[in-house]
């Protein structure tokens, strides 16, 4: 049961930021799909928390501004999934958003919440990392923009300060000739918490070599991140099975190097290799290059 709370809603950003800047502990929330679940677990029901509803702040616009896609942090997963700009400019994010939870959850949960919750299995993060996403943070004292790759510092921890609010996410689309892949492994047919997620963007040049490649992985490393060793290896190579397998091996080696051999490693080691191969294949199959057969 959710214990007693104080509910605050503002329609002006500055007023909302004032609450966050006050001495009182104020928890901002939008969709509530993580915050309310946490609140319900509260061990001390007499410790009344203040919740700041940010849905009145107009933070759910999605638009393009000088080649950058701006996504309001309070945009729901459904709004992202259905948005035509995102479908054409950030297709990996469309896919990622469509695979989050259930329809009911997608109708409430927001992209900002997914990022700020900083779960290693957050579905949108691997997609956004491919588009070099930046997180726009506002507070009364300072506005700052932090690359998503630096925003999450450890599982469930971010650089966000108590007085700060994430207002938007900026993502940088790639040209149309990039191919993309996204694979989320879950146990069921739908409504899965990701076991592992891998995403990739790939561009192949006129000679049929990989010109640019971006690969990211969730639930593989403590923090969802790009796998630069894999990217470095792939650039300049011709996309073929052997190279993709090698990429998978590097990812698996990197996973073990970062986290050590954990309880889950005997399973994840071979599967992460395979998922890398799958998304690379998928991305390659979408590469638009007429020179290729």
């Amino acid at each position: 049961m959710i214990p007693e709370i104080e509910y605050i809603k503002e329609t002006e950003l500055d007023l909302a930021l004032q609450h966050l800047a006050s001495d009182k502990k104020v928890i901002p929330f939008a969709g509530g799909t993580d915050v309310l679940i946490e609140l319900r677990k509260s061990k001390n029901p007499f410790d009344r928390k203040a919740l700041l509803d940010v849905k009145g702040l107009g933070l759910n616009d999605i638009y393009i501004h000088s080649d950058t896609v701006i996504i309001g942090a309070a945009s729901t997963h459904t709004e992202v999934e259905d948005n035509e700009i995102i479908k054409s400019k950030l297709p990996v994010l469309t896919k990622a958003s469509s695979l989050i939870g259930s329809k009911q959850i997608r109708n409430r949960g927001t992209i900002g919440g997914n990022i700020i919750n900083a779960s290693p299995c957050a579905d949108t993060v691997p997609a956004l990392l491919l588009y070099d996403a930046q997180i726009v943070i506002r507070s009364l004292s300072e506005d700052r923009t932090v690359p998503l790759s630096e925003f999450i510092t450890s599982p469930y921890e971010t650089v966000l300060q108590k007085d700060e609010l994430v207002t938007e996410i900026r993502a940088f689309p790639v040209a149309e000739d990039y191919g993309w892949g996204y694979y989320k492994l879950g146990r069921r047919g739908a409504v899965n918490i990701s076991r592992m997620t891998v995403a990739a963007l790939m561009k192949v040049d006129g000679e049929g070599k990989i010109n640019e490649i971006r690969v990211s992985a969730g639930s593989v490393f403590p923090i969802t991140s790009r796998i630069s060793d894999v990217e470095k290896m792939l650039v300049g190579e011709k996309p073929k099975a052997e190279i993709f397998r090698r990429a998978g091996e590097i990812a698996a080696e990197k996973m073990i190097e970062t986290s050590g051999r954990r309880w889950s490693t005997p399973y994840k080691e071979s599967v992460v290799k395979e998922l890398i191969v799958r998304v690379l294949n998928e991305a390659y199959s979408r590469c638009k290059n007429d020179d290729l057969s």
């Binding site: 061990k43 290693p120 069921r188 309880w263 005997p266």
Partner: protein, 754 residues
């Protein structure tokens, strides 16, 4: 009987469920929807340890809190401190110690639910933690922690037939395998809820989500020290039960009653899902060793089976669950020499009890996997090996019982194999060498004893009351929990009186108004209540006939009107007592059940060879139900049984670490969703049984008890990997073993959770 089918007007047709209108309009009042004037809200404090002595319970602080109206503990129990239908060793509130993590210590009643929940945290309990017994296989060792002072053996059942040593000596091949199944949660969508209030002339009235009212009433009466007629239990419509709303709700009845008595106000007690997971009983995990002797032509010479069942902290239904296992452990096959031992062992895990299948899903998983393994060793197709050994009319079971009804197992196997093109698909799939995706097909079958069998007295009553306008009210002590009992019984009454089902209104059970009909378990409702209902109709038809004989062309309403004018009672109690069964506990044999049902399943799967993800593509089920009573209801039972069996096969595992459940809710304990459902083909064989109403037998449990082995056999067919432990997780399918998280989840560590 074949002719009778043509004469039946309602039985076997598609009807709209009698209780569905209220359910689609949201008007059905489940327990949690019931409110009593002046009610307070209860909340239960659970143990902090799976096994500990209780040194002190201090409730003084919470009692002083404004808005808290009552606090109850072991001290407030006027009657028996322990209850239980078979072995009364379960507590309402822990007495001297806690035996599992879900044990209740105390309960609080307060003005609001949030206050009750908060207040209980102020109760101070001093524990002396004891060593935790978490593995049933270690429970019988001399040095194992003792759950009860008498020791950890809850029940030992055996079956002895012929001489297994002799049988093994005659065998060309002896094969031994070990299997295990996991603990699973019933996962009825409706968490348990009750509302208790003082009434009934110095007694108590409780409405709640209870499956077995009369055993619950015995428990409540003994705990409260009241006569049975002062304890009135009313069954609210159940949001699913699957065997689960028995003792788990009985404790709530007792706790709510104790709070109501203490403060004199109605008490509403509703479990959260977390409470339900923590407190309720589960399906038993089984550890099974199978050894078989076979001739090279596939004839069985002997089977020796040794099973340990994890009974958890209390007896509950373990003695009966494991009895069904011991009877059915060899599967539906002729085996001349049998030695089976099943031991239910207490542990400090959640107690285990009745769940749809009742001791059969476990042994069926083992024996049906085992048959496939034997077939593989012999180089025989698994269908052929089954057909070679499957029971036929007049065969003798492992317990020495002669099957003197129509045994349709062979027909079921042949029909389903043909429908699915089993043999050719099986041959093709096993040759696949794809390293990416492979298809597989698997088969399973079973026989199942109908109703309680020699477990206990098997009788039921149904009240049929014809109203003066020709409408009818039907009542019984057996309940509808979503399985469609109300509809099935209404169909039988409609058929019996020769009227439309729309004329019938089925009432939920009330212990003060209907006779004890035993529990709604063991797929016994259609056959037991059906027979009793048919009996009531026969009594009424006889009375009507005596008054209106000779006046042929009268409609039902007119005949009823005449009877009322003549002062003839059109209220009848139908009764049915099952045919005799026998059991020699000492020597392990007997005529265990008065009849059996037969069925077979086939599953087609697709396995991702690189991630271990197995997906069920298509599912075939065939069941001989004697007679279909409600056609759509019967199909629905099978669809639901398959979905539940798929969860058992692939997803569900209520794992506990040192007695503490790993899962709290449906975010991590995964059920089958709509997106997992394969195409299903369901077919019924109808060989009417002389024991059943219009020949009907049972279906609820058969539909789920052989799903898992069909899937496991299909996965083997696809991958060549035999998985002997349920569920078939990604890890087991890919690397052949389960991986266990050694510590807290990242999210829990990050949030500092306990």
């Amino acid at each position: 009987m074949a002719d009778e089918k043509d004469k039946l007007k309602v039985v076997g047709t598609r009807v709209i469920r009698t209780d569905a209108f209220d359910k689609v309009t949201g008007r059905t009042r489940y327990s949690a929807d019931v409110n009593a004037v002046g009610q307070l809200f209860g909340s239960v404090l659970h143990s902090e340890y799976p096994h500990a002595e209780i040194l002190e319970i201090d409730t003084s602080e919470v009692e002083r809190l404004e808005g808290v109206r009552a606090v109850v503990t072991r001290e407030d129990i006027p009657g028996a401190k322990y209850f239980g239908g078979v072995i009364p060793n379960q507590t309402v509130f822990a007495v001297d110690k806690v035996r599992y993590y879900g044990d209740g210590i105390s309960a609080v009643a307060a003005d609001t639910p949030e206050l009750a929940e908060a207040a209980k945290l102020l109760i101070k309990v001093k524990y002396k933690p004891l060593p935790v017994l978490s593995d049933a296989r270690e429970g019988l060792r001399a040095d194992a922690p003792k759950v009860f002072p008498e020791g950890n053996l809850c029940k030992h059942h055996k079956v002895r037939k012929g001489n297994v040593e002799k049988g093994f000596a005659e065998a060309d091949l002896i094969i031994e395998r070990e299997y295990s199944t996991q603990r699973i949660e019933h996962s009825y969508l409706e968490p348990e809820a009750v509302v208790a209030e003082l009434s009934e002339d110095g007694g108590i009235k409780i409405i709640g989500s209870i499956q077995n009212l009369f055993s619950a009433r015995r428990a409540v009466a003994s705990v409260l020290n009241l006569p049975l007629n002062k304890v009135r239990l009313i069954q609210a419509p159940l949001g699913g039960s699957f065997g689960g709303k028995d003792e788990a709700v009985t404790v709530l009845f007792c706790r709510a009653a104790l709070l109501a008595i203490k403060c004199g106000r109605p008490i509403k007690l509703v479990n959260s899902r977390e409470d339900s997971f923590r407190e309720s009983y589960k399906r038993h995990p089984y550890f099974m060793r199978y050894k078989a002797g076979v001739k090279s032509d596939g004839t069985f010479t002997a089977m020796e089976i040794d099973i340990t069942a994890d009974a958890g902290a209390y007896a509950s239904m373990s003695p009966f669950v494991t009895w069904r296992s011991v009877v059915q452990a060899t599967g539906p096959y002729r085996v001349p020499n049998v030695k089976t031992d099943v031991r239910a062992v207490y542990t400090n895990n959640n107690y285990t009890g009745a769940m749809r299948g009742f001791g059969s899903p476990q042994v069926n998983f083992a024996v049906e996997s085992f048959i496939d393994e034997i077939a593989e060793e012999l180089g025989i197709n698994p269908l052929e090996l089954r057909l070679k050994n499957a029971f036929v009319d007049g065969d003798i079971t492992a317990t020495g019982q002669k099957l003197n009804h129509k045994v349709s197992l062979g027909e079921a196997l042949k029909t389903i194999a043909e429908r699915s093109d089993f043999v050719s698909k099986w041959e093709t799939s096993r040759k696949s060498s794809s390293r990416d995706v492979r298809k597989g097909i698997g088969i399973s079958c079973s026989y199942r004893g109908v109703s309680l069998g020699a477990e206990g007295t098997d009788a039921a009553s149904v009240l049929v009351s014809i109203q003066s306008d020709g409408s009818v009210i039907v009542e019984t002590g057996l309940v509808d929990m979503g399985q469609g009992a109300a509809t099935a019984i209404s169909i039988i009454v409609a058929e019996g009186l020769g009227i439309d089902i729309e004329k019938i209104h089925f009432l939920n059970a009330d212990t003060s108004r209907v006779p004890d009909s035993g529990p709604t378990v063991a797929s016994r409702t259609t056959i037991m209540a059906g027979n009793a209902a048919k009996n009531a109709c026969e009594i009424l038809n006889e009375r009507i006939k005596r008054v209106v004989s000779g006046e042929k062309d009268l409609g039902f309403e007119e005949k009823v009107a005449i009877c009322f004018r003549e002062g003839i009672s059109l209220y009848a109690v139908g009764h049915y007592k099952s045919p005799k069964t026998t059991w020699d506990e000492e020597n392990g044999y007997g005529d265990a059940y008065f009849t059996f049902v037969y069925g077979a399943n086939i599953s087609e799967v697709e396995v991702d060879m690189r991630t271990g993800k197995a997906k069920v593509d298509k599912f075939y089920a065939i069941h001989d139900v004697g007679r279909v009573v409600s056609l759509s209801g019967a199909e629905g039972q099978v669809y639901g049984g398959v979905a539940m069996g798929m969860g058992y096969a692939l997803l569900e595992d209520f794992h506990q670490t040192d007695g503490i459940p790993d899962f709290k809710n449906f975010d991590e304990y995964l059920l089958t969703t709509a997106a997992d459902i394969p195409k299903m083909e369901v077919e019924f064989l109808q060989n009417p049984d002389k024991a059943g109403p219009y020949g009907a037998k049972s279906l609820g449990e058969p539909s789920t008890e052989i799903v898992a082995p069909a899937i496991a056999n299909a996965v083997y067919n696809a991958t060549g990997k035999r998985i002997r432990n349920l569920p078939l997780t990604l890890e087991r399918v890919l690397i052949g073993r389960e991986l266990v998280r050694p510590s807290k989840r990242g999210s829990e560590i990050a949030r500092g959770e306990k």
